[in-house]
């Protein structure tokens, strides 16, 4: 009987301690990253973590005046582990999708690659206008529509390859439905192959993916062209994943990311790691 009481008291104490801790101001947190998703995050030969996520995490922690420990974790188990309290935040190039938002909370976006087009270098589409322009479907819908209208005559009757059920696929459905013929592939590598083979005229995928894809020696004939699109249903981009109960921490991260955006840290870091600007618009 006595044991039961002690146990119950102990559990109660542990519970109040746990909930009390999350409500308090934190001075020390643990951030999880994957360490195997370059250039977002990677593990150096000496075992230390590096990459866009990691460097930015150090900046954000300095700004928030919180002591951070960054640990490497497998990507697929990260969300349950966050909710189980193994660490306090996720920075692993994780996109804030609706599905994930049902389980955890996200800070504002700290990096948006957007969706871009790629064609063969000798294709008549290689001179696609609006090169490197970035349109947001949420903040500049009208501009995005205008850009789409400008591209339509060029893409008329062309075959476009996208990954099945990707946001690029949905973008084509919503904006180019009667203009292009859409082919859906299981993986992005497969539409690269068919672009080279000439079965599709153009592909659309995440800029982050295309940037690494065109670097591959087998894809040397492919180049990225035209404008990029982001925002709205294309997703808010990479964000810090947080427990739903940690509202104070979310506010701090949002504030620090706003600062990083304002002082150009996001731009500098993304130019360093990706070679183009990831700053969300």
């Amino acid at each position: 009987m006595k044991i039961m009481k002690t146990l119950a008291a102990g559990m109660f104490a542990a519970f109040t301690l746990a909930t009390g801790a999350s409500a308090q101001e934190k001075t020390e947190i643990t951030i999880a990253t994957e360490g195997a998703f370059p250039p977002y995050n990677l593990t150096r030969p000496d075992g230390t973590l590096d990459g866009y996520d990691v460097e930015l995490a150090h900046y954000l922690c300095d700004h928030m005046k919180i002591k951070c420990t960054i640990v490497a974790q497998a990507f697929d188990g990260m969300i349950p582990a966050l909710n189980a309290g193994k660490f306090d935040a996720i920075m692993a190039g994780m996109s804030a999708t609706e599905k994930r938002k049902e389980v955890i909370d996200f800070s504002m976006s700290y990096g948006s690659t957007g969706q871009a087009f790629a064609v063969l270098k000798d294709s008549d589409l290689s001179t696609m206008p609006l090169k490197d322009a970035l349109y947001s479907l949420s903040s500049n819908e009208e501009g995005a529509r205008k850009a789409v209208e400008e591209l339509k005559p060029l893409l008329k009757g062309k075959i476009i390859g996208v990954q099945s059920a990707s946001i690029a696929s949905r973008f084509i459905d919503e904006y180019f439905k009667d203009t292009v013929e859409k082919r859906e592939y299981k993986t992005t590598e497969q539409h690269d192959l068919d672009l080279i083979a000439g079965r599709v005229d153009v592909i659309m995928a995440s800029m982050g993916y295309l940037k690494t894809a065109v670097e591959k020696p087998t894809n040397s004939d492919i180049e990225i062209v035209g404008p990029r699109f982001q925002g709205g249903f294309l997703g808010a981009g990479s964000s810090v994943g947080l427990r739903k109960s940690d509202t104070a921490l979310k506010a701090k991260f949002d504030e620090a990311i706003t600062a990083a955006k304002a002082d150009g840290t996001l731009k500098t870091l993304s130019m360093k790691w990706f070679g183009f600007d990831l700053t969300p618009q």
């Binding site: 099945s164 059920a165 082919r183 859906e184 497969q190 192959l193 083979a197 000439g198 079965r199």
Partner: protein, 240 residues
């Protein structure tokens, strides 16, 4: 069970049935012609033809159809020579690549089934035909072929059914047949069980109809297994 969702899924998948049926019908039809040729090569007694057919059957029966589809679709297109050749206008099209892969594969299996059927024709009947002075072709058409078809029909119906199911592999080269549309629906709704149940039911229905048709043909081709229709008793007065 969400019956509204099941119904909507069913309506969406129905639109893909013609593609599935077309793939199966075209590849089985072309495959059978090729198979007949291969079976005749095997039985010709001419060594090079026999060995060619043996090698073909060995390769296409021994490798997975999935691998064959990948090699024909993604593999051949890697070569600049193929892309510049006169065959490219066919190989460029995912639909024809699927037909070619399915046809080549089913021909290997069907060739052996047809060969078995041809070998099962009793010698006595062939001799009887010869005794009647039939030409080789006439004998093939009237005696050997009908008997061989009857013998190989059960095994051949297996092959047709497995081809209907094999068309589902065409979805990996962007063809939107029943499985392709089902996979797309799943990635949009995350409801794998309901969608696959409906897709499975559609294949089941197609194959049910197919087996009924084969049973009907088998019935028509085997009158000798049924009791002969009883003759009208002859009136006693006419016996004389």
């Amino acid at each position: 069970m969400d019956f509204v969702f099941l119904y909507e899924t069913f309506v969406t998948l129905i639109s893909a049935i013609p593609t599935t049926l077309q793939l199966a019908a075209t590849s089985v039809a072309l495959g059978t012609i090729l198979a007949l040729g291969l079976a005749l090569c095997r039985l010709s007694g001419i060594a090079p033809l026999d060995w060619f057919a043996r090698a073909y059957i060995f390769v296409f029966r021994g490798t997975p159809l999935l691998v064959q589809i990948f090699l024909i679709y993604y593999g051949l297109s890697q070569f600049r020579g193929v892309r510049r050749s006169m065959f490219w206008f066919i190989l460029r099209d995912p639909y024809w690549c699927a037909i070619i892969a399915l046809m080549l594969c089913t021909a290997a299996y069907s060739a052996e089934i047809i060969r078995g059927g041809l070998l099962s024709v009793p010698h006595g009947q062939v001799e009887a035909g010869r005794a009647c002075g039939m030409s080789r072709f006439l004998m093939f058409r009237r005696i050997v072929m009908p008997l061989a078809v009857r013998q190989s029909l059960p095994a051949y119906s297996n092959e047709i059914i497995s081809m209907v199911k094999a068309t589902s592999l065409a979805s990996i080269i962007t063809i939107m047949e029943v499985t392709g549309v089902a996979a797309k629906l799943i990635s949009e709704t995350y409801r794998a069980i309901e969608v696959f149940i409906v897709a499975g039911a559609i294949y089941l229905a197609i194959n049910f109809l197919l087996t009924r048709i084969v049973v009907l043909i088998e019935y028509r081709l085997s009158p000798h297994l049924r009791q002969a229709p009883s003759l009208q008793p002859v009136a006693a007065g006419e016996m004389r």
